[in-house]
Symmetry: C3
Amino acid sequence: MGEAGDNGISTSGLVPLRRGRASVVKIPDHWFIVAESNELKSEPIERELFGTKLALFRDERGKAAALLDRCPHRNVPLSLGKTHRDGTIECAYHGWRFDGGGECRFIPTFSGACGQKGQRATSFAVREQDGFIWVYSTPMGDGVAPKTEPHVFAYKDKPGYSTVVQAVTAEGTLYSSIENALDVPHTAFLHHGLFRSKSRGITITAKIHRSRDRVEAEYVGEPRPEGVIGRILSPSGGIVTHYDRFILPSVAQVEYRIGSENHFRVDSVMTPVSDYVTRIYAVVSFRTHLPSRLIAPLIKPLALRVFQQDSEILKKQTETIHRFGGEHFTSTDVDVIGRHVWRLLRSAERGDLTDVDETLEVPLVV
Amino acid sequence: MGEAGDNGISTSGLVPLRRGRASVVKIPDHWFIVAESNELKSEPIERELFGTKLALFRDERGKAAALLDRCPHRNVPLSLGKTHRDGTIECAYHGWRFDGGGECRFIPTFSGACGQKGQRATSFAVREQDGFIWVYSTPMGDGVAPKTEPHVFAYKDKPGYSTVVQAVTAEGTLYSSIENALDVPHTAFLHHGLFRSKSRGITITAKIHRSRDRVEAEYVGEPRPEGVIGRILSPSGGIVTHYDRFILPSVAQVEYRIGSENHFRVDSVMTPVSDYVTRIYAVVSFRTHLPSRLIAPLIKPLALRVFQQDSEILKKQTETIHRFGGEHFTSTDVDVIGRHVWRLLRSAERGDLTDVDETLEVPLVV
Amino acid sequence: MGEAGDNGISTSGLVPLRRGRASVVKIPDHWFIVAESNELKSEPIERELFGTKLALFRDERGKAAALLDRCPHRNVPLSLGKTHRDGTIECAYHGWRFDGGGECRFIPTFSGACGQKGQRATSFAVREQDGFIWVYSTPMGDGVAPKTEPHVFAYKDKPGYSTVVQAVTAEGTLYSSIENALDVPHTAFLHHGLFRSKSRGITITAKIHRSRDRVEAEYVGEPRPEGVIGRILSPSGGIVTHYDRFILPSVAQVEYRIGSENHFRVDSVMTPVSDYVTRIYAVVSFRTHLPSRLIAPLIKPLALRVFQQDSEILKKQTETIHRFGGEHFTSTDVDVIGRHVWRLLRSAERGDLTDVDETLEVPLVV
């Protein structure tokens, strides 16, 4: 397989490969979902965030905690252990016990006092809200306190709205998964018939608005989507309002209003499990002219079908990137949101977000 | 596992390992089979040559084309896409379309003109002949035109001859697969009983003739092979003429005449799929004193049995080479053809073939 | 996955990873078990020691031999071959034959004399004793002769004793496997109920005695183990004598006397198959107040259960070490034997064992 040499040129394979980078970021100081609340019961579980394994457990009062999944003694995963009745997690190998802050509380057979610095397990701040367990991506330590708060779901518990939650895993980078979730052109091809059919030749305008922690695309003049979903919701057409948003660190938000009664909002909160694996927690809130008990059962299978198609293509994209030594993308104006997402992700990685307030317009033929 | 260090010496494992190379070549400017014609139908397929993935498809008139299997837009494999009715291949992700020359012909939702340089897919020259699809190993570009022609099968459609085609895959380098196909001594051991039995103590002569693009071994004084095949073809013996040839870039040719009526020619055209995987397209043409409808059904199972034994040993050889950090071969005079094959492969890789006309003689005890 | 950069600091993942080493050693000039005698019959077999593959075979008189598992001709594993009636091993590919000393004795079709230097197979000294085939870890060559002898099992054939042999494989380093076999504290957790129950709060003393080629821990004041095993052997209690020993290069020895009649000795002779795989040959010799025909059938299932628990935890430890870029262990006084084992292993690797005679005392709460 072609591998780039020191000079960035490979002579292996049929083509000289320019060495490329991949769109991988590690974002400190932000909150990411690592589990749904009901996945963490009385026994510890193992999760992964930015390629780092974590042991999650609940103390004796049910409070969730997250430690690096490695006992400082002999490096066995703490998630193999048990929750002790004193609220600590007990290692399966030699029985060392740690509290939710990572402090060592007991070492079997040892007659001395435990709690020395080298005996600490690395710990992470945890929030449990909206049915999710969120972990802060910078480890706790002397004087460290979270600088941000987890994402809020604006319509999750709002009167008149129903909400469906669905989690799926994609084998793509965080960046590619976000771009995929917010990309309009691919829906007519990859998801042919579900959202959009092939072009009707109508030119609409995408208004791109950039600000400090987000980028938003408003689609002006968009006709009612032709696919199954549009037809059910709005058999007679109606004015369509459509926004796509990326909000740091990892929320892809899609919002549709069709006519005055139908409102859909999907917040896909992305967890970078590792460089090329992204877990997506999609929270779909909606209000329609039809009873929600008719709509709700349709959301999950439809979402799963779309996710399966996206997941398959992201996996193939990832394989191709690895095979050819990096990403070699080219873009046009209609890739409206990707470059701004990437700029935001890189800024968040470096911790140098800048104030910006800019609006751009791009024509799209749909 | 022992891995060679910077100084070429490893102290790991039980033995200091000398760092070795492996007989891997990449040959530009030559034709290789990537598929049998009937494998490429109306939908694109994926193939690999020298470790590089290709998308093969047929245009609206059935003409075969080969592109690098990576869409220049978001690097999804083009082979996942469809053939469009306008003769282009359409990417499965965003629907970009490319013609057989790699030119971008359409970008959905984009109101501008496509066809810019960065939007080109890398393309390769294709020939379809003798039931095979051949790809030229240097990509097409400004002013590039093939300098060579695909191999010709001299007896494939010749009156009086029948032909059987069989393709198999071996987990060995191109070099090792060629040497294996042309090596006489191993047949008595690895294929014991099929071609040759153990030695009868007869000394014959191998006349090695080297020229610019090939090396040929003629075996003079060889008795009729003792195995199953020889007995069926020539129950009463007869004069045997036997040539083994290697012809650049990758043809291993074995030719037998037994008595005046029996003539066999096997052209094994090798495709270097990747460094350690070789696909072998064997074209067996023959004329015997027996009706071909009796012989033809025997050829495939026999060839498959021989290939299976060879494939198994090449796989083990490859594993051992990886395990011990490279090839550490030693040769004797009876490895008559291997060193010349290797010299030709390296010359073809560097593009510096030289005129030579030399004959050597080597005794063999069979 | 977080990988340490050149400066030893990785910014990938959630935590900066200090680059760590792993406790891997290669020990020259010592004997290791590579097979049980009854595993090597008339056909060659393949074994691995310190990551190096060996071909074992018996000559025409049944004498065991070990060669590097690579034919010097075309690098096919010799273990694929056959034992020839002349006592040599014959390669499966071209039929080259080698004697137990690695000398090449025959090359088919070759009319010259074989036995040149490049045609030698690398050979290793072999001893067959106590039902095991032992291989010396430095290859034979001009003027090389073994400097040590294989381990002797003191109670294996002693009158009044019975012996059970059980071999298992653990996915851990030699060091971790030895420490695991000799570690007392983990038995109450990982093997809860089998040997020890949770603490009774009794403080005992571990007397650690270090000498040139070994380290011994004597446990003074230990009550009879509470688990199944202790209850069967000594229903009414009794004085317990307990020694744990590590003897170079790879013997973990556990010795128990309970009362005057019960004596158990387990010699776990470890074979470093590769860096992270260790084969353990456990030889359990015992004499009890109960008939050995009652005890013997219990030993194997019990040993297998304990080994399975240890093997599982060592595998998880190894995975975690790889995941976090090396071992980051912390120890307390109750890790009584590990650091001395490591020092001995490293000295044996470098060939600089030193005379030492030292005794240390450590309190343990059991």
